[in-house]
């Protein structure tokens, strides 16, 4: 984030809006997925922990989408942005919309994104936009806790039983391709970096990879080969899962438009 004061000032309203929505969508959609677990987790402790992570992420999403609505200046609220946009308007990372499948897949998804958010929020604290910096400081503390939970389970499952190892390795193999999006150029986060709003996505890779590799080693898991996957949620390219998730999430607001709840 080495943008000069001049570029900082030029970070347009539109860009700040889109960046806030991108980060907010990622937290929101992941919160929605984790919310599906509540009442159904493998044990009571995990149920509470997943609910907790969902709550933190939902808090981030509300902060970011409210801010986005505010700077957009068209009177859209956090709820308008969450419930009244079409799937193709969402710019969350595609990883977070992937289904829960089982606890193993859920933990892999969480671990990969936690490790990324650790780096993201660390850097975002230095954003030229105080609102992003403020969010990042709070979210970083939360993410450290999430990461402790998810990396702990990566190790327990990877280095647990034969079955748990197999399941979590499958989850890893299945979800790995979505991590290429974290660091890929050509989307709003790159623009945001150029304007000093946030970190250059590519710059997060080294620390993320080192972190992930260390945990995978401890978990006796095999790091999947990198593939050139290029369908990115942050470029509005989503899997089929997102529209199903949104159909459920948005149903009430779509059915009763303009109503207070």
């Amino acid at each position: 984030m080495s943008a000069s004061a001049a570029t900082v000032l030029s970070a347009s309203t539109d860009l700040r809006f889109r960046y806030a929505v991108h980060l907010g969508d990622t937290s929101l959609i992941l919160a929605q997925r984790l919310g599906e677990w509540v009442g159904h987790a493998p044990a009571l402790e995990e149920d509470l922990a997943l609910a907790n992570i969902a709550l933190d992420l939902l808090g981030q999403a509300r902060y970011l989408l409210s801010y986005a609505g505010e700077i957009e200046g068209k009177g859209r609220t956090e709820d308008d942005l969450a419930f009244l946009r079409d799937p193709s308007d969402f710019t969350n990372l595609a990883l977070v919309e992937q289904p829960n499948v089982d606890f193993g897949h859920t933990i892999v998804r969480q671990f990969l994104i936690d490790a990324w958010q650790l780096e993201l929020f660390e850097c975002l604290q230095g954003s030229s936009e105080p609102r992003f910096a403020e969010l990042a400081a709070k979210a970083l503390k939360e993410t450290r806790y999430h990461y402790r939970f998810s990396s702990g389970w990566m190790v327990r499952l990877g280095d647990g039983t034969e079955e748990s190892h197999k399941r979590v390795q499958e989850g890893l193999d299945s979800l790995w391709k979505f991590t290429s999006e974290f660091f890929a150029p050509g989307a709003v986060d790159e623009e945001a970096a150029a304007a000093g709003l946030g970190p250059d996505p590519a710059s997060l890779r080294a620390a993320w990879a080192a972190n992930v590799e260390q945990v995978l080693t401890e978990a006796t898991l095999k790091k999947p080969a990198d593939v050139s996957y290029r369908w990115f949620g942050k470029r509005n390219q989503h899997s089929e899962h997102l529209s199903h998730l949104l159909a459920e999430m948005q149903f009430m607001q779509r059915t009763y438009p303009g109503v207070q709840w």
Partner: protein
């Protein structure tokens, strides 16, 4: 004096019984039954409201709802811990629940087809629960009483949230008002029945009163709940679905119509609208989670072995 007499006089003097104290076996068994039933209710009770987490109509409501359901899980944890002080493990208790031999509150065998049900549960079900639970904060058994203090505080918070949902709906659009009224229609009688059978037919009351596990009779608590709740319904502009309900000047109480105890018995027997679904859901979560719990154990075992080797 016998142990039993010493025990009873402590209870009579409003002293707390603690885990290491001597206690009659029947007292212990009654407490295990009651606390675990309460714990199971919290766990099963996560499901009807949890059903709306993914569809909550605003982000604020979604956050509040997740937090509430999470609190219920937390209550389950405190209560299982309280039960464990009486010499039974959480695993044993869970097994009883999943085997269908332990009870939980019948109210959670009713479905939540609409968002208004989340409001109605908070307002009525949590309201009735508080009525039942506040006296237990002064229960003779220390760990149970202390757990209940913490739980009651959170429950009354939930109850207010539920009431607020109902108020928003009742004062909202005609569809919302209709939704709220429909939920009240469906939850009123089951809530009334949460206090258990009439005193005349209730079997545990007398002994539990003597032991100060219970401090009011079912009918007393039910009456208290109705007296508080009917004016709230009026305030909301909703109609309580009891054509016989009337205010009685003489007793200064509301008189309610006859309760359909046959429905109560049926739901208790397992023939409620969701009995089978609730247990199946819990069983599926338990079965699907087995490999995870096994992995955690296996990993802990490996860690221990490595540490031993290192030492």
């Amino acid at each position: 004096v016998t142990l039993e007499q010493r025990f009873q006089s402590k209870v009579d003097d409003d002293e707390r019984i603690e885990p290491k104290d001597w206690m009659p076996d029947a007292y212990r068994q009654t407490l295990i039954r009651q606390i675990s039933q309460h714990a199971h209710s919290e766990i099963v009770g996560m499901l009807p409201e949890g059903n709306w987490i993914t569809r909550a109509p605003s982000l604020r409501r979604k956050a509040v709802l997740i937090a509430k359901v999470q609190d219920e899980g937390g209550h389950g944890m405190y209560l299982y811990s309280a039960a464990e002080t009486l010499g039974i493990s959480r695993d044993e208790l869970l097994e009883q629940l999943l085997a269908g031999t332990a009870k939980y509150s019948s109210i959670f065998n009713y479905p939540t087809p609409t968002w208004a049900d989340v409001g109605a549960i908070g307002w009525l079900v949590d309201g009735a629960a508080i009525m039942n639970q506040i006296p237990i904060c002064r229960c003779s058994y220390g760990p149970y009483a202390r757990a209940m203090v913490r739980i009651c505080k959170e429950e009354s918070f939930h109850q207010r949230q539920g009431f607020e949902i109902m108020m928003t709906l009742a004062r909202g659009t005609p569809e919302q008002h209709r939704m709220a009224q429909d939920a009240l229609n469906r939850w009123w009688w089951p809530s009334i029945m949460m206090f258990g059978p009439n005193d005349a037919t209730s079997k545990h009351t007398a002994q539990s009163m003597r032991w100060k596990i219970k401090r009011f009779s079912n009918d007393e608590l039910r009456q208290k709940f109705i007296d508080i709740t009917v004016p709230q319904a009026e305030f909301l502009g909703l109609k309580v679905p009891d054509p016989d309900l009337r205010w009685d000047e003489a007793t200064q109480h509301y008189i309610h119509g006859p309760i359909d105890w046959k429905e109560f018995e049926e739901v208790l027997k397992g023939n409620g609208p969701c009995n089978r679904e609730r247990l199946e859901t819990r069983r599926r979560a338990h079965d699907d989670g087995r490999w995870v719990r096994e992995a955690a154990l296996a990993h802990a075992e490996k860690q221990r072995a490595r540490e031993t080797q290192a030492a």
